[in-house]
């Protein structure tokens, strides 16, 4: 399966390599680097590259390329999914996944990789099992380690692999037993220039933070599970019970995990929390244009819309802009032509507005493409789909846990299309 793994930074340096079968020379990465050179953006590098003797499957994540070398047939998604798991594991262990972090914990990352794959086939990918074998670093422990000269490798032998539940280790103890669930919903939408919804759907995810002693068996039920159209679960969730009763019954992993992701039925009309009035126009003759954007709340169920941000990729031919914002501030990068307007909280009484003039390069024709506005927003304590957790029951343990549910709505890929109007200067 997976022969080797290289971690490559954006400038093309291979700063970690791990081989599970025979060693593959670094030069194999040249094919990848070549493709990377060709691509304009790192995302444009093809995930699968065919070289004379190997196949290179890579992912780009957290500004790092994870490049695996494959020699024989293997489902590409298998590798891609695994590489993402590696990135998640690094994130889980060290708080973030970045070049510096990996370089600081080289040996530990290497050991993790050793445990995760055996002969190129995934062996232990559950974080709970790995943490049994290789303890994540903490400040306290690193102090102790330097004093005593021990490392992070578990000195008790693992038991996780052998427990009946691969994702949970035995003997978890907490003084405060707590279980928190975040219901996070993202609105993916495309609105056209008149404000009508071309496409909208809601993606949700239930993130859990469960710190419970022993082997708790939880049942989470929703008030309105019929809303959920398509779901995917953490392996701990019992499928059958969901099928028959629409409840989530599971023995949770210890700590943070994604319990489920869902998609809200497309037939339900999606409430769009904001509206955007915009016009970007250029004068028919001359090299000037005008931009005018107003954002206002629409269907917010009485909650405040926060963290509103508007991002616009302006046409390449724009030379400079001169705008004023009634609220928040804007930044403009002339190199990438990226305009970011950070509004913050939306005040229904006084709608934020950004307007001003655009000047084009002299002699450049009127831009043809329509820049689209990407909107970012956040609404606390609201799941826009109306999904509500009904109750959480715990079985199997005697104590009473603290329970909590939080709802957040965010904008996912939220786009507003524009039309660049041409206006006659003299009217």
């Amino acid at each position: 399966m997976i022969n080797s793994l290289f971690l490559i930074n954006p400038s093309g340096e291979m700063f970690l390599e791990k081989h599970w079968k025979s060693v593959v020379s670094r030069s194999v990465c040249d094919y990848f680097l070549e493709a990377k050179e060709k691509a304009l953006e790192p995302e444009d590098v093809p995930p699968v590259i065919h070289t004379p003797h190997h196949y290179l499957i890579s992912i780009y994540r957290d500004k790092l390329f994870f490049l695996s070398v494959i020699q024989t047939e293997v489902p590409p998604l298998f590798v891609i999914e695994f590489l993402h798991r590696v990135a998640e594991m690094i994130q889980d262990y060290f708080g973030e996944c970045s070049e510096t972090v990996v370089k600081d914990h080289m040996v530990m990352v290497y050991e993790l990789l050793e445990e995760m794959l055996d002969n190129g086939f995934p062996l232990a990918t559950e974080s709970n099992v790995l943490k049994e074998m290789i303890r994540p670093p903490t400040i306290l422990r690193s102090v102790v380690n330097t004093l005593t000269g021990t490392s992070n490798v578990g000195d008790t032998l693992l038991t996780g692999q052998l427990s009946t539940i691969p994702w949970r280790r035995a003997g978890v103890r907490y003084t405060n037993n707590e279980a928190y669930f975040d219901v996070v919903e993202e609105i993916d939408a495309i609105l056209d220039q008149s404000g009508t919804t071309v496409f909208a759907e809601i993606q949700g995810v239930v993130e859990a933070c469960v710190k419970l002693s022993g082997m708790p068996d939880l049942t989470l039920s929703f008030m309105n599970p019929r809303l959920l159209d398509d779901v995917s679960f953490h392996p701990c969730v019992r499928y059958k019970l969901w099928e028959s009763e629409r409840v989530l019954s599971f023995i949770p992993p210890d700590g943070n995990f994604t319990l489920m992701t869902y998609h809200v039925n497309a037939q339900n009309l999606v409430a769009i929390p904001v509206y955007v009035k915009q016009s970007i126009s250029f004068f028919e003759c001359g090299s000037d244009g005008r931009l005018d954007v107003t954002v206002g709340p629409k269907q917010t169920m009485g909650k405040t819309v926060e963290g509103v941000m508007v991002t616009v990729h302006l046409p390449k031919t724009i030379l400079s802009i001169n705008l004023t914002a009634t609220q928040g501030s804007y930044t403009y990068d002339n190199g990438t032509k990226l305009l970011v307007w950070d509004i913050g909280k939306l005040n229904p009484q006084k709608l934020p507005n950004l307007r001003g003039s655009l000047s084009l390069q002299a002699g450049a024709p009127k831009p043809e493409e329509n820049p689209s506005l990407n909107i970012d927003l956040k609404i606390q304590q609201l799941a826009i789909s109306g999904l509500k957790v009904n109750r959480l029951d715990m079985f199997g343990e005697k104590y009473k846990p603290f329970k909590g549910v939080k709802y957040i709505t965010k904008a996912g890929k939220f786009q507003v299309l524009t039309i660049t109007a041409s206006i006659n200067k003299y009217t």
Binding site: P47, V109, D230, T258, Q415
Partner: protein, 1146 residues
Amino acid sequence: MSASSAFNDEKGGSSNVGEPEYGHDPASGGIFSSDYKRHDDLKEMLDSNKDSLKLEAMKRIVAMIARGKNASDLFPAVVKNVACKNIEVKKLVYVYLVRYAEEQQDLALLSISTFQRGLKDPNQLIRASALRVLSSIRVTIIVPIMMLAIKEAASDMSPYVRKTAAHAIPKLYSLDPEQKDCLIEVIEKLLADKTTLVAGSVVMAFEEVCPERIDLIHKNYRKLCNLLIDVEEWGQVVIINMLTRYARTQFLNPNMNESLLEEGGGEKAFYGSDNDDDTDDEEDKEEKEKKKTEATAIVKRKPYVMDPDHRLLLRNTKPLLQSRNAAVVMAVAQLYFHLAPKAEVGVIAKALVRLMRSHSEVQYVVLQNVATMSIKRRGMFEPYLKSFYIRSTDPTQIKVLKLEVLTNLANETNISTILREFQTYIKSNDKDFVAATIQAIGRCATNIGEVRDTCLNGLVQLLSNRDELVVAESVVVIKKLLQMQPEQHSDIIKHMAKLTDNIQVPMARASILWLIGEYCEHVPKIAPDVLRKMAKTFTNEEDIVKLQIINLAAKLYLTNSKQTKLLTQYVLNLAKYDQNYDIRDRARFIRQLIVPTDKSGALSKYAKKLFLALKPAPVLESPFKDRDHFQLGSLSHLLNAKAGGYQVLPDWPEAAPDPSVRNVEVKESVPEWTKCSSREKRKEKKADKPFYSDSEGESGPTESADSASDTASGSESGSGSEESGSGSESEESNEESESASEEDEEEEGKKKKKNVEKIKARKPVPESESEPSSGEDVKKSEKKSKPRIGSSESESEEDNDSESESSESEEEESEEESEEETKKKKKTTASKPPSKPPKKENKKEKKEMSLLDFDDFDPAPSPSQVTPLNNFLSSSLVTDLEGLSLTDNVLSPTTIIPSGNLKTYELLHRITGEGLSVEYCFSRQPFSPDPHMVAVKIQFTNSATSEAKSLHVEDAKLQSGMRIKEFPEIEVLPAGETVSVVMGIDFCDSTQAANFQLCTHTRKFFVSIQPPVGELMMPIFMTENEFKKEQEMLLQSLGQLMGMNEITEKLTLEEKCQGEHAVVQRVTTAANLSRVPCGSDKECSPPVPPPPFPIHRFAGKTVTSGSLVLVSVVTKEDGAAQLTVNCEKMVIGTMLVKDILQALTQ
């Protein structure tokens, strides 16, 4: 060893220091001298006595390895630490060894003995890690040692060690392919393993070592299907991919008869299948004939019926579409695409669309597969059209793929939406993407005739685009489109001709000129004029345009020489003196060809043919066409080229191979005579499968010796029992394997003994599994599955066979599974008293062999079976079902409620039914063809004046999971007559209505049957003690089980129903439960003071899933009472409480 290694190390070390470091590693070359020093101090640290120093050194060394620097010169110093006590140091040494052992084979040998010791360690984890490292050291000389270690580990007690053994197999194979035969034996053995931990790894080994040995899978097929959901994610992917290939070789194409499939479809096919499949393979013609005649018209109407194993695979993989792992979802999707009947493939679309919201790499792969699928099965993705709309933020490669999918999905109805989308895409910044969009428009135009003109017009407008790429692409696409319908294009050509005045892009101009030349006969007036204009500007044109002007001139000269002769001459003259020699050459050549002179040879005669030959229209088709001959989801599919190690997905077989190869003998301790038939059968099979018996360590004699008394082997059952099966096989026919298996046998025997001892020490109750972890597995399965509750009743009882049976049959709680379970139980009870007349038994056994455990569902119930309690089969079934919970007490059939007071419901009123009135009631009798269905008695009364003909059920519209077993067609119902039939409905333990059409020869009536919740259960018998125990146990173990709910209500009984009899009657009328006789177990338990208030208890279980339903009513003074319902199905529980409350209070 330590002394010698130390010595060696000193020597080696010093010699190493003396030698210059060769430039293996350019990075270290730079700081040559300092590097030296560092390595020196590393060696010192490694030699020291302090573990902390060693650890520090090892960490630095591993960091070097991780950075890709060469640390091989430290090998001698490192290798001697392999026996270090400190586990952290040891781990790092292992890491080092695995990396460098191949380069320093001789020195690596020093470490081998440590691992060999580790292999014998009592701690399973040490054994496993020793094997892991030993097998990772790529040193050819130790192959025999590895082989031995793997063999031993494969029969290790610990499933974790066995998993490691499975991982080691491909390692050894890649090191020494000659070991293949030996390794296959190990694989075969591990394939029979029943733990989920091992399953994924061994299938992976199978795929790498011997993917062609599909025959090894037969016996394990059903087990793999059933284990699948609990295997870890990565194993699931590998198993599903392998099973896809397997199914392609073993089953028939479900789509071979599509029209028939549509009416048959789904579950129904499954039930009809047993008979048909088996008859196909039955040698006995007579029996075949007999069965054929037995089978009713239904079977004849459907030539294709799905093999139950095929269905099993589809059903067990379906829930995995909900996996969080994209690879698993993709694996299931490709399985459905390649194996499922057309009507069922649709379920994967939603899951695939979900994956599109994942990382862009995942999207990339998924879209490639969706693109391929959408060519064959467009309808599947049509509802998700909008999910493929392109966002400006998508990477280009994703955009292009989405465009491909959109194009594939385009049809008459959605084309206008799609074209509108395309219009916005054309304005994108991303020029590659715009070009792809134009091509996509071209393809839409060719595929959908209605929009061809719109597309053409749109494209023509694009010709005036500023971007050269856009124009060139448009012209190319227009050119292709015009070639397809040459009769209509004169308008567009005229339009394009006009454009020549404005368009300056040379490529576009050239293309237009080519078009005019090609179709000059369609635009006879304009063409010469264009040539005239071009002649004027000839000298200023670009070269490609000039070439096309010459071309145009030549074509016009040939068709319309009268008007263009002079012009052509002029152009050719201009070309003659052009600076570009290509153009000069071309001009000279064309002049010779078209202008007839004396010198011009034979060619000029054919000039017209040369120039105006009909050019074939280019075909615009998807690059993903026919890609599905590669297994979807594979690397080969993605690259559209065969990758190394790709296993071709075979075509469906013409006729299905013998399905009985997948049969697994369920019992081991069956008396000799019951096995006879099966042995014979096996022998036949073996004849054409010579590999089959070179197997297993466990051979016949050991087995039979054990099985007579041994609980361990006796209880090793179900899918695992193929061990014994093959064992007996080898005994029968493969004497030569005897000697080979002898040593294994010995080991096996030892192990057995050990296991037995362990079991005895651990538990008084014999467990079904002998190994600790598998025991845990069973526990897990108990936690996971509902039927566990039912079967766990028997746990404390002596019926250890049936217990092991049920624990083996895994987590699945699907109906079919539990059917199988009851089936097996039945057999257990049947085979238990071996002294009974063998005749009957034999018959039964035989039936079992031929009908794959499913003999209960007769696909064509004959009318006599409709009244189930009368016939032997179903009455025995009732006993068996009851036997589930029964132990020593006598069953009391008197508690079955009389069927006299059944409530009838109206299905069809006399008036709406045009004289036909239909009523139904729930007969509360087990439905014999399928015990998981509720029997519904339907009574037809024909009060019309004419007779009604061919009454039957059609077109059932059911909620998912629900099934109907229709009653046999009533051919004639004379006027004034009444007839009753029984049909079965599986309501899936829900009160949702079953809708279907009731048809007569003239009319169709839509009707629906909605069951009261009380009818969704059937009575079971238990004693008071059992009842309490059950209630208590389930409440206690709430956490681990699904949460058996308890609902309690206080109520006041109506005056009339305060008596015991009245309460019992009302409850049993409201729900199909049986009363638990009270006080029946006074003898066996210590005397209990009589309860202050009478308690009435009722027990039952739901029909579909067999979940227990326990009801108790405590009556107190003054008609006060308390009602308690225990049922793990919350919904059923609540509804039942409501119903009983109503019954008791009104």
